[in-house]
Symmetry: C2
Subunit: 692 residues, 2 copies
């Protein structure tokens, strides 16, 4: 059968992806770093980032071990005996008591995601110094190095993800066990995104508030003890956190499709086993093609020197659009070869389009090329309160287009292929993640490169080039966040649908009080999660501020920039690390326990409501926070370009306040919600049998 | 039959309420105003408030006329002929084509609500000067006058509301026609709450930003051209807006109960017609008892001179708790006399308790007696960004208890009496609205009284007394907002349930894509509505700022306080009025059209989803915004009491920014969402036949 051929092809694509990542990594590492100061500062960032990762992973190891044991006991061996086997559907029945396979898949998922994060961060904290050095040569060189660094991350994530899914499917042929892999990925994502998000913004807000506002020294100034922590944070939050988030979406979308193949077969009126194998292999094959398309499309990303912002943006877009087009051609061929209904091609196209629409809408609301962000800048003239009010107004309003896009996508996908279509649309959206993630991870690398240029006091044209790359990075970061939210929503929805299928909850009437209660609790959790993470940033930033003030006070000559006097950067890194990991525990535990408690106490109907409530409200809150934050950031940049009085004006001071408010909005609380949605859905899917 | 006796009793209670309102009004007006400056400034506020009302009502008249004609054509006479009469349930069938009764009920509802608003505002803008004068005599005297002013408003609202519902029911005996009354009330509420909310905060934010921050003159300073507009705004937004909002909840809860009596009869397993009459009359009888209980309980509200804040708070609480206890006794008697299941008493008790829990939770999160607000104050030491982040964190987290309270209330009410129970719980919560609203409306009266004392430069002890009353007013305003949100949520939910019953939508499966789409669109609308109103305040406040700056620049001697030089207050009033009424049109139209469009284009299932989505997300957003705003306000007050450096410190400046951000949160966008939820639900209920 031709269907079976696609499994080795998908594995092959994943292996090619890993090989390509290796080649890109060698290219990055091969770039020399001449300047000693760049090298030594880069070393500090490396050490800080690895110190964080080490501490995070050691907490994670304990967490993963405990959860794995619980999974083995409660799910694999059903030790509580509360699940009446006879009442379960066939695949679940067949699985129970056979071996600790869900637990094993969970551990593999955790290790896989952790490994991808480690590799991505390892190369990112080396790519930054290389980018700085390359910027001495020219803009295109710097763009290539930064982008190649991001590509290593992107390709590693997708290759490891695809490899894990295909291997586990071939061994167990059971979506419930493969779901364990997704749960493992979610656990890592929780720690990486929430912990990383708190880390990065505690350092950033702390560094800004004392440095820029109180002490009057510029960003990334080497005198500021929090500068290194801030640079580490970019890697910890935006590289490792973003990577783990999208790794989770990537595997989650495939898992949901696997769990919904039977539904898809029924909806599409297909015939027998071969069709089912076709629907099983389709998502993996599409992801395989997506990896190859991403690799080819990286070669489209190049620019001349003195390129304008929009030229730079188009350089990256050429890569993304090129990969999308190639992946679509591949998808069409696969659908035809598998003799599946051609509607499935349109579903994949829909997914890709939804991602693009969200990206474009995000750009409209957060780029200073357009009215919303400029309006915030104009309002800043009357002070920080006006900036804040305007940013909130823009952020709240920015949810409209993404919601309409996702809603239309769900409608089309569902009409064409039922709930399986929703999962497949998510797969389509994420199929070219290899290159999308490369453009995301590129941002913090460029940001770091600029910081290094500042700290090493390199020639102004170097900083100019890194600034251009950084500004581009801000735009890709904002659209990347929109993309991450959209994919999280589709993935969580598909996983939730898989849960309702598995749990065979028959009555899910909207007028049922349990559903309403679940919906309200789910929405509430999104708010609570955002509150807890905001709270954590507020507290951690204040601890950082106290530390920076203490060093300026107690280290003689530091603030004056006396030669040879250096801040105790390690101490600041330590504060961010400790605070982030401690503050992460409560929201993390909440995300895992809430669906379990609701499922056990209020039943599967309320749990279904909880998932939908968290997805709808979480989508809105995450989009609001990400876009308000992005708009504030760029409103400040717009003023810094000389509008409304430019740098140093009252409007600028107000815009800096807005930017600082937006930091935890866009980089901590907003993205953390992505994890909440997916994690709760996958917990429901895995522990579903317990609630039946 | 004893049941029928309760109708005249309810009417009697409403008439007694109106009589009592008249007596209280005479008591307030009988209080002399000695000071000429107080009298003349009060006159300006009166004129400004009435000018706004006149303009608002003339726009409203057009709006109401158009909607009434549409109602008569589309609903009463079914001119489009798109409704297949045979497919409708009996009461709807019986109604169509008989006469323009829904349209008539609509007009009566609009006139009733408008009248209640007019009377409330009329007395409020007279009670303020009397309160100032009474404050020269003593704290208790001032409290009595301010509270009596509020009582006039409270009793007028409930009496007019109850009278309208009972009369229309007796004439038509058709819940669909009575729903027209609710729709009329909603239309007024939309204009009063949204328009009033924009008015008051445009003036407040504008006055604060130039006055306090730029020109360095205190609040309520007579030199500030926006001071009168700010004082007018307190009446326009917090008296008329709040009154119309709760008028809508009050009649909406009764209407929902009426529409759900058949469901209640079935759920409770009752027998035949007499039981149905019992369930029909029960809510009205409870409201009648509640009016009498409120009147009696007003006598409990008194205090000594030099009373502490908590003594003052307990004086008001004595009134609220006393009324609640009396109403419960009355409810028990009614339930027994009607020979209805005693479960219904517990449902009413549940509703009252939910209201109290929300009030207490709101107080915890917004009063500086407790940790959250003090934490915001402490964070302010590191600048306005920290204040903003902390306030958002507190506001987001403050949704937890209200959601749990409402969710538990729904659970209990639904278990005891089905969906009828949810409506009855809303009735219970609102039964003592006469006195609850009195404590709400009291706040702006006390606030105005303080402003008048400042502007007339009365003796410091007068201002001290009005300040004490004002501080108390801030607390009651915050808890009142929580109460308004909670009652709006329960009412909207009950109205939504009535819609699904009426539309006989059989399949409302959560996994249905139409439901999901509706949910997402409903949640999105809450965000969009908040965005539009925030946007409006931002723009209108900026217009106000420009005007104040212009006057300070162009009127010689104004800023210096030269005797005889007065600002052009009328011009500032005019700007707020115009801006508010213009900015209100888009969100207003959206709220009316969205359910119609969704119902027609996507069908009743999606509309049911829309309602639930807007209720769940709107509840969260409204609570977040109201509590964040309240907490910022009181964090500033806490610093002003001498903490973290007190007035004039950096922390204080940061807290003032937080307070200004919070203004539109708590007084415009948050409360406006209440209207959105209820209005969309009542539009669905009224136009339901069109979507079937």
């Amino acid at each position: 059968m031709i269907d079976a051929l696609f499994f080795p092809l998908a594995i092959g694509a994943a292996l090619i992806g890993l090989l390509a990542a290796l080649i890109f990594a060698r290219a990055v590492l091969g770039h020399p770093v001449h300047n000693e100061l760049v090298r030594s500062t880069g070393k500090l960032i490396q050490q800080g980032a690895m110190a964080f990762l080490r501490r995070e992973y050691s907490i994670l190891a304990v967490f993963v071990a405990i959860v794995a044991m619980l999974l083995a006991a409660l799910i694999d061996f059903n030790l509580l005996n509360n699940v009446h086997i006879a009442e379960l559907n066939a695949p679940v029945q067949a699985r129970l008591g056979v071996g600790p396979w869900t637990a094993l898949a969970y551990v593999i998922g955790a290790v896989g995601s952790g490994l991808a994060g480690l590799i991505g961060m390892w190369i990112a904290v080396r790519g930054n110094t290389r980018t700085t050095t390359a910027a001495e040569e020219g803009l295109n060189q710097a763009l290539r190095v930064a982008f190649n660094t991001g590509t290593v991350m992107g390709l590693t994530v997708v290759s490891v993800g695809l490899l894990g899914i295909v291997a586990l499917w071939l061994i167990f042929e059971d979506p419930s066990i493969v779901a364990g892999f997704g749960f493992g990925a979610s656990s890592i994502a929780l720690f990486a995104r929430v912990g990383g998000g708190i880390y990065t913004k505690a350092a950033d807000v702390g560094a800004d508030l004392v440095g820029k506002i109180e002490a009057g020294i510029p960003e990334d100034d080497p005198r500021n003890p929090a500068t290194i922590a801030d640079n580490v944070g970019d890697n910890v939050g935006d590289v490792a956190g973003m990577g783990a988030d999208l790794f989770e979406s990537y595997v989650g979308a495939m898992i949901a499709a696997l769990a919904l193949t039977a539904v898809g077969v029924a909806y599409l009126g297909l015939d027998g086993e071969q069709a089912e194998v076709g629907l099983v292999v389709l998502p993996m094959a599409i992801c395989g093609v997506g990896i190859l398309a991403s690799i080819v499309a990286t070669t489209f990303v190049r620019t001349g020197d003195h390129a304008s912002m929009s030229r730079l943006l188009w350089a990256l877009r050429a890569g993304i659009f090129g990969a999308g087009a190639l992946a679509l051609v591949g998808t069409a061929v696969i659908v035809l070869l598998l003799e599946l209904p051609f509607e499935l091609f349109w579903v994949v196209l829909t997914g890709l389009l939804v991602g693009q629409v969200i990206g474009t809408a995000t750009e409209f609301f957060t780029s200073y090329e357009y009215r919303p962000t400029r309006w915030i800048a104009a309002q800043s003239v009357t002070g920080p309160a006006s900036t804040a009010i305007a940013g909130v107004a823009v952020g709240l309003g920015s949810v409209v287009v993404p919601v309409l896009a996702v809603v239309s996508g769900i409608w089309v996908a569902n009409e064409l292929a039922g709930l399986y279509g929703v999962a497949l649309a998510a797969v389509g959206m994420l199929s070219t993640l290899g290159i999308t993630l490369a453009t995301d991870a590129y941002g913090p690398v460029a940001d770091n490169a600029g910081g290094l240029a500042e700290q090493a006091r390199l020639a102004p044209e170097v900083r100019e080039r890194t600034d251009a790359l950084d500004a581009l990075g801000n735009t890709t970061a904002a659209t990347g966040k929109g993309f991450a939210i959209g994919s999280a929503v589709l993935t969580a929805l598909a996983l939730g649908a898989a849960f309702t299928e598995l749990a065979q909850v028959s009555v899910l009437e909207l007028t049922d009080a349990r559903i309403l209660i679940g919906l309200a609790l789910g929405g509430m959790l999104a708010f609570l999660f955002a509150s807890l993470t905001m709270h954590a940033v507020g507290d951690a930033a204040n601890a950082m501020i106290e530390e920076v003030r203490r060093q300026f006070r107690e280290i003689p000559g530091l603030l004056e920039g006396q030669p040879g006097v250096e801040p105790d950067a390690a101490r600041a890194v330590d504060i961010s690390t400790q605070r982030a990991l401690r503050a992460m525990l409560l929201p993390g535990t909440l995300a895992v326990l809430a669906p379990l408690i609701v499922g056990v106490v209020l039943g599967p109907e309320a749990l279904a409501g909880l998932l939908v409530g968290s997805i709808v409200t979480g989508f809105l809150v995450a989009t609001f926070m990400a876009n308000a934050g992005g708009a504030w950031d760029n409103a400040k940049k717009w003023i810094e370009k000389g509008h409304h009085g430019g740098k140093g004006s009252d409007a600028h001071a107000a815009a800096v306040v807005g930017d600082t408010i937006g930091d935890p909005f866009k980089d901590t609380s907003g993205p953390s919600i992505n994890i909440l949605l997916k994690l709760m859905a996958v917990v429901a899917l895995i522990f579903g049998p317990l609630f039946m």
